[in-house]
């Protein structure tokens, strides 16, 4: 225990505690050069944060992303898992591989391809849409479409991971339940809602919490695709935190963003666990 604990202490608790302390100071590039050049500013960072429209915008964008992208991505994962678990599908291994590929492909490579797909003039997506009479959309350049574009990309990129977990969950459901239900005359939809979903509940809870935590930390997609633009419509909390901390070296301010995000994620997780417990009781 002792080595593990000391490693956690050194690499986790010390940084977290110092970040917490730093969030009450104006630690910045001046202070990196000379430690005497920082001040304890109390709650100033938090006040500045709550007064900054850019922070609220980032928060709004992040919530929008979590609320829209989270359920959608779980639904897609579940759908894909059920399809791949069906007895009718052949070449399961191949499809599982194909669906899992985006998860293990580096985002930098993916984003270059997707930037071409999203290109307003020559992009594949607009080309496809033109056949059903939809006009050109400036996917990444239009403030209204940029976030949906990021959502589509990130669902495509991430659903394979949850899909694998769902497949594992599905394989744990005993076959007898379905057979019994079939004998009783339950149709496919009834079997799905009365057997598959309840039996998957623990898996779903796990996936929901993990997905929510992951999606609140949205960073790499907008960082590479849009840098937060246009008109800050894809600026996420973590991207904002990164820019303040590691681009402009406002470590104090940036730490305060980190703790606000921490509180939000903690609240979200507790809420889900409470909801689940109430349902079980």
């Amino acid at each position: 225990m002792a080595p593990a604990l000391s490693a956690i202490f050194v690499f986790f608790f010390i940084p977290v505690i110092s970040a917490f302390v730093i969030s009450f100071t104006d630690f910045d590039i001046y202070a990196i050069g000379n430690y005497s050049k920082f001040r304890f500013t109390g709650l100033d960072n938090y006040m500045k944060l709550f007064e900054n429209p850019l922070f609220w915008k980032a928060l709004k964008n992040t919530f929008f992303f979590v609320v829209v992208s989270g359920p959608l991505s779980i639904a897609v994962s579940l759908g894909a898992a059920i399809l791949l678990n069906s007895k009718l599908v052949r070449l399961k291994g191949l499809f599982r591989l194909i669906y899992f590929m985006p998860v293990v492909t580096t985002l930098v490579a993916v984003s270059i391809v997707w930037r071409f797909i999203y290109h307003p003039e020559f992009g594949l997506l607009n080309y496809g849409l033109s056949f059903i009479g939809i006009d050109k959309i400036d996917w990444l350049g239009d403030p209204n479409w940029a976030m949906p574009s990021i959502i589509i990309l990130s669902i495509w990129k991430n659903f394979g991971y949850n899909m694998i977990i769902f497949i594992a969950g599905l394989q744990n459901i005993p076959e007898e339940l379905y057979e019994a239900a079939q004998i009783e005359g339950a149709n496919g939809w009834q079997r799905f809602t009365k057997i598959t979903l309840p039996m998957l509940a623990p898996t779903t809870i796990f996936i929901t919490i993990i997905t929510m935590i992951g999606y609140f930390q949205l960073f790499a997609e907008p960082y590479i695709m849009t840098q937060g633009g246009p008109l800050d419509s894809t600026l996420s909390i973590v991207l904002y935190m990164y820019q303040e901390g590691f681009r402009w070296w406002n470590m104090g301010y940036s730490s305060s963003i980190a703790f606000v995000l921490f509180v939000i994620i903690l609240a979200g997780t507790l809420l889900q666990m409470w909801y689940q417990k109430r349902k079980e009781a």
């Binding site: 590039i29 050069g33 996917w139 008109l231």
Partner: protein, 435 residues
């Protein structure tokens, strides 16, 4: 059992003790072998392709200075600043390094850089008068020289000669009015909603700052403690550029242009304000290296031609922590010699900082580079404060976009901008008041 364990324990401790006792010997012997050879090793950090290409110049230096070994480390541009600041925090800086000249103030502030006056005063190779004045000036922070220009750049205008001719202009625009007039004519002439006159993306702050400087703005006032972007001079310049967006003379947003060279070739726009690094690519895409269809020209001005542009480029800096400053300076001098500068230009296409290198016939005859030479006569440094990068990259580009898209008027945008700039500069005001 217990006795056995004790024995092992004892033996282990013995080995450990002997090992620890011998450890210093290792270092001493390593130290000895180095002093025997009598070689000073200096480390140099180069960014991007410069870090790679500089390797070819080093054999010549080592031939002349057998006592010095240069170790080059390549750092990618995108990670350079982070890496340098963390190396500074870890007391692990190189002896010399290449630094974008707008970064010099940040590292001066960290008290990481060695002032170079005492080396310059003794040097025959490095003298202020050997350099373009505006460029040399960027290295002077808080009254002291902290860097030696290595290679230089500035922004000029790339333009399509063929389109200009069709619009009735046989020469590039020399004033703001001509620039606007020409742009309107080009858009009218092309008569195609997918063709524009000039590319002025809001995620490039340089043109906004350049036009502000041309109009006499100080950008940041009162000893660089308060933003002056809503001041008359800057606001006027800002509104002038936003007009190009409002009149659809420049494409909206940045995603429509994934490749500026291709867009330039396809007449998507006829003018682009940018730096010398683009010459080779434009040559390639235009399939024209003689300048029939396109050219470069100094920037139009508000008061006189050419108008001011930015003093850019990279400087060589020496770190305070360096233990081999004399050797490091020798390397700086070597890189500043005319011959080395020309060799470096041939490797990298980076324009030489030393003025005498520009006497070479190559620079006199090259149609595209000549415009840069003219432009270097009128280049200006941006405010030398560590907050500058955040102010232009984060704030100016953000508010330029707001104004270009019409979510704010130009005046509202610049007022909001100044408010944020003043918050950013609060720390600087406090530090100055403490002194």
């Amino acid at each position: 059992m217990n006795g056995w364990r004790k024995q092992v324990n004892l033996r282990f401790r013995l080995v450990l003790a002997v090992g620890l006792a011998l450890l210093p010997l290792l270092f001493i012997s390593a130290g000895c072998s180095e002093t025997k050879k009598d070689v000073t090793e200096i480390t140099f950090w180069g960014m991007g392709s410069e870090g790679e290409k500089i390797q070819k110049l080093i054999p010549e230096f080592q031939k002349r200075n057998p006592g010095i070994r240069v170790k080059v480390q390549m750092v990618p541009w995108t990670a350079a600043q982070e890496k340098l600041i963390s190396s500074f925090a870890a007391d692990n800086t190189p002896d010399i390094c290449q630094l974008g000249n707008t970064w010099v103030p940040q590292f001066v502030l960290l008290e990481a850089l060695e002032p170079l006056e005492k080396y310059i005063s003794k040097s025959k190779v490095v003298k202020p008068e050997f350099y373009f004045k505006g460029i040399w000036n960027t290295n002077e922070v808080e009254g002291k020289i902290h860097g030696i220009p290595w290679y230089i750049d500035t922004r000029i205008i790339y333009y399509r000669k063929d389109i200009f001719a069709k619009a009735g202009y046989n020469e590039p625009p020399k004033t703001w009015d001509e620039l606007l007039d020409l742009s309107r004519k080009i858009v009218k002439l092309q008569n195609d909603p997918n063709k524009y006159a000039i590319y002025l993306p809001t995620n490039e702050w340089a043109p906004f700052v350049i036009f502000g400087l041309q109009n006499g703005s100080d950008l940041i006032k009162n000893n660089w403690t308060y933003g002056n972007f809503s001041g008359k001079e800057f606001l006027e310049a800002f509104q002038f550029l936003i007009r190009f967006h409002k009149e659809r003379l420049t494409p909206m947003g940045v995603s429509q242009v994934t490749n500026v060279y291709q867009a330039f070739e396809q007449e998507f726009f006829a003018m682009y304000i940018s730096g010398p690094w683009n010459i080779p690519e434009f040559k390639r895409w235009m399939k024209d290296s003689t300048g029939e269809k396109w050219g470069t020209a100094p920037l139009p001005g508000k008061n006189g031609y050419p108008g001011a542009s930015l003093a850019g480029g990279s400087s060589l800096v020496m770190f305070k922590n360096s233990k081999n400053k004399e050797a490091a300076w020798k390397f700086v001098e070597f890189l500043s010699e005319k011959g080395t500068q020309l060799a470096f230009f041939r490797e990298t296409n980076n324009l030489p900082a030393v003025v005498s290198a520009w006497d070479e016939p190559y620079f006199k005859n090259d149609k595209f580079i000549r415009a840069f030479y003219e432009q270097f006569q009128n280049v200006v440094a941006t405010p030398k404060i560590p907050e500058w990068e955040q102010i232009v990259f984060a704030k100016l580009q953000q508010y330029a976009e707001y104004a270009a898209r019409g979510t704010m008027t130009g005046e509202e945008a610049m007022k909001a901008m100044d408010k944020e700039v003043n918050i950013i500069l609060e720390k600087r005001r406090w530090l100055l008041s403490e002194q």
